[in-house]
Amino acid sequence: MTTKPKEKPSRFDPEPLPRRDFLGLAALGSMALALLVSAFGMLRLPKAAVSASPAKKFEVDLPDALPAGEAFVPPGRNVAVFRDAEGVYAISTVCTHLGCIVKALPNGFECPCHGSGFASDGAVTKGPAPKPLPWLKVSARGNSVVIDEETTVASGTKV
């Protein structure tokens, strides 16, 4: 055995304290760094780079016989389109409270989830909704209209 008897330490002796271990600390530090970078990379993954939703701009043919003030809801869209003497306008039917789809009534909108009510121009009349329903950008294209769900316009803008 290599330990000489006279140096032979006893297990009752206090263990000598390790000297400061720069190599070990550097190794652990670099590992922590590598893991930190990889954790950052992994955290990026769940945030999708693009959302898989179709274009928010769509074209719609309004029925010829649409009475003034009556809502026309294009199939599959959360928009109510109206036509009156001054022109065409579109109001979003997504409740500003928690995103339920409001129902268009003859004199306004009503949210089925938490009872918010909106006037026919989108202004809040009751319930918890914090903001009026936004008006959406409408532009004419030939005989039909193009509605852009992503662009809101000032209330009362008619085309």
């Binding site: 190599l23 670099s30 970078v37 939703s53």
Partner: protein
């Protein structure tokens, strides 16, 4: 035990370095980063991020617009960057329909080679730009297309009659004047008029406006049109679906008789493969051994037209002796045959008409019907044709033939064909030719043959009562060499064919044997020649009697 610490340190630093490299290359070194970095909108640089067009109904997710950022929904690129230019104005908004719907390729990819399909396992590479119109065939079905000759004269008529002065057609013409209509032109754009439909009485109303002299343009640019020109204009307008090149390609297809052997959407011959989805063929499954150039479907199809037998070993398809321009048009039409299933909301009217209401993709006017169906085998002028490896196709405009073949015989032949021969029963089946179409075709064949009419001898269909055994002896000596021992055909037509014998009258047979066919090796047996004496009338009738016995076999 320092080596473990070194191992840990070196490995960790290595991992760190590689992660940094990966992060940099993913976030900064992609081609599209550079492209979007250079692109400028009116208010300065655009945000560098992935962009895509999604159409859930068509199941498209097209990230082409990540590089072609000028075509991305809502982007207005002002810089002169070729790749980032906006799309030219088209009927279908690319931001809604997606890119690959028309152009093919791999929409999900974000790198050029992958996206354009230049990877060996991607089955649907992009359509070459010059064949871009072929993509209309994915959803649309061109209807009522004439043959190329008619189409060309129709287009010439449109130009000759100065219609371009007021109307726009496929991006040409339509002078913009103050006081024009909504689009600034005097007349409406006619590019899609065939799809949308138009007022059948337009000529009457045009003429009225011209007489009233509503404006200078009406007086200067419009004049009376002949009936022949009106027919040509109708023919042109009916085919207007915004894809002039595709119509031209289909017109070429209608000019070389491909339908005689190949079916498209359920109409056409069965001797060759069905072509309805030939434009979707997977290049990886094709044999490119004898195809020079790139391994693309386009190249394969073009080479196949040049030399079918070497491209597909064992193919019966004859080389059609086409020029490069014709091959180009036919290639384009083949590429357009990609009729995949579509969600109902995207089914265009023309496709519905063709699928559900049996609308013809070719014009049902006799010349077009003839060139679409008959011309490949019987020749453009009906003189017949022979291709190596196939039975010879008889001349059908031979005056000797037309003189003894009644209209009923021609009608029956077209409608019921020849059992187990290349000649199909064109009048049968769900999509078969209708009565009027076949009658038109019969008249057209006579017209091709110089207007020779049939003169009836007033006898019933079956009158011959010759001696069949004698006939058999004579048949073996004189006829079997060309027509086969039991009339199975060889150099000459298969005269033992049951459907032939049903349609042919005794007079037809007797007269054919007697007079022969000028210009073929079938010579009249009633006249002697250097190698054999003439046959008597009785001998000929006995041969006919023998031939009649073949009918029962």
């Amino acid at each position: 035990m320092k080596k473990n610490k070194y191992l840990l340190m070196v490995s960790s630093i290595g991992v760190f370095a590689l992660l940094v490299i990966a992060a940099v290359s993913e976030n900064f070194l992609k081609d599209w980063h550079a492209i979007q970095g250079q692109a400028r909108a009116e208010d300065g640089p655009i945000e560098v991020r992935l962009r895509q067009v999604v159409n859930n109904d068509l199941r498209r997710t097209d990230r082409c617009v990540t590089c072609h950022v000028g075509m991305a929904p809502g982007e207005q690129i002002t810089s002169q960057l070729k790749v980032a230019q906006p799309h030219k104005p088209v009927v279908h908004d690319p931001a809604v329909m997606g890119c690959t719907t028309c152009h093919g390729g791999q929409g999900q990819a974000t790198e050029m080679d992958d996206a354009h399909g230049n990877v060996h396992f991607w089955t649907e590479p992009m359509l070459p730009a010059k064949y871009a119109y072929a993509s209309c065939g994915t959803c649309h079905t061109p209807l009522n297309v004439p043959n190329l000759a008619s189409l060309t004269s129709a287009r010439q008529a449109f130009e000759r009659l100065d219609c371009y002065a007021c109307h726009r057609l496929d991006g040409r013409g339509g002078t913009i004047r103050p006081g024009g209509n909504l689009t600034g032109m005097d007349g409406p754009d006619l590019s899609h008029i065939g799809l949308k439909g138009y007022d059948a009485e337009w000529y009457v109303s045009h003429l009225g406006k011209n007489r009233e002299g509503a404006s200078e343009a009406w007086k200067a640019s419009f004049r009376e049109i002949s009936d022949a020109d009106l027919r040509l204009l109708k023919l042109l307008l009916d085919t207007q679906m915004g894809a002039p090149k595709l119509i031209e390609a289909r017109a070429q297809f209608n000019s070389v008789g491909c339908t005689g052997c190949h079916a498209v959407s359920g109409f056409g011959g069965q001797n060759g493969p069905e072509l309805s989805r030939v434009g979707e063929k997977d290049p990886n499954q094709l044999n490119f051994r004898n195809v020079p150039g790139e391994r693309s479907l386009t190249n394969w199809i073009a080479q196949h037209f040049r030399s079918p037998a070497s491209t597909v070993p064992g193919s019966l398809m004859p080389a059609l002796d086409l020029n490069e321009q014709e091959i180009d048009l036919l290639t384009m039409y083949m590429l357009s045959l990609r009729r995949r299933g579509l969600p109902d909301v995207f089914l265009p009217k023309d496709r519905v008409k063709a699928m559900r209401f049996g609308a013809r993709e070719f014009l049902t006017e006799p010349a077009t019907v003839y060139s679409t169906i008959c011309s490949s085998c019987h020749g453009a002028s009906g003189k017949g044709a022979r291709f190596p490896g196939n039975p010879p196709n008889p001349s059908i405009t031979n005056p000797d033939f037309l003189a003894i073949a009644s209209d009923d015989y021609l009608y029956a032949t077209i409608a019921r064909g020849r059992t187990s021969r290349p000649m199909l029963a064109w009048g049968e089946g769900e999509r078969g030719l209708g009565d009027a179409e076949i009658r038109g075709l019969v008249a057209y064949i006579r017209q091709l043959g110089g207007g020779v009419q049939f003169v009836s001898d007033g006898r019933p269909a079956r009158w011959v009562s010759g001696d069949a055994p004698t006939g058999e002896r004579l048949y073996k000596a004189n006829c079997a060499g060309c027509h086969g021992a039991i009339g199975g055909g060889g150099e000459g037509p298969a005269i033992g064919n049951a459907s032939f014998l049903t349609a042919a009258t005794d007079t037809f047979l007797v007269e054919t044997i007697s007079r022969g066919r000028t210009g073929t090796i079938m010579q009249g047996f009633a006249t002697p020649n250097t190698v054999r004496p003439a046959l008597t009338r009785a001998e000929i009738e006995s041969i006919v009697a023998f031939i009649r016995t073949l009918e029962k076999k």
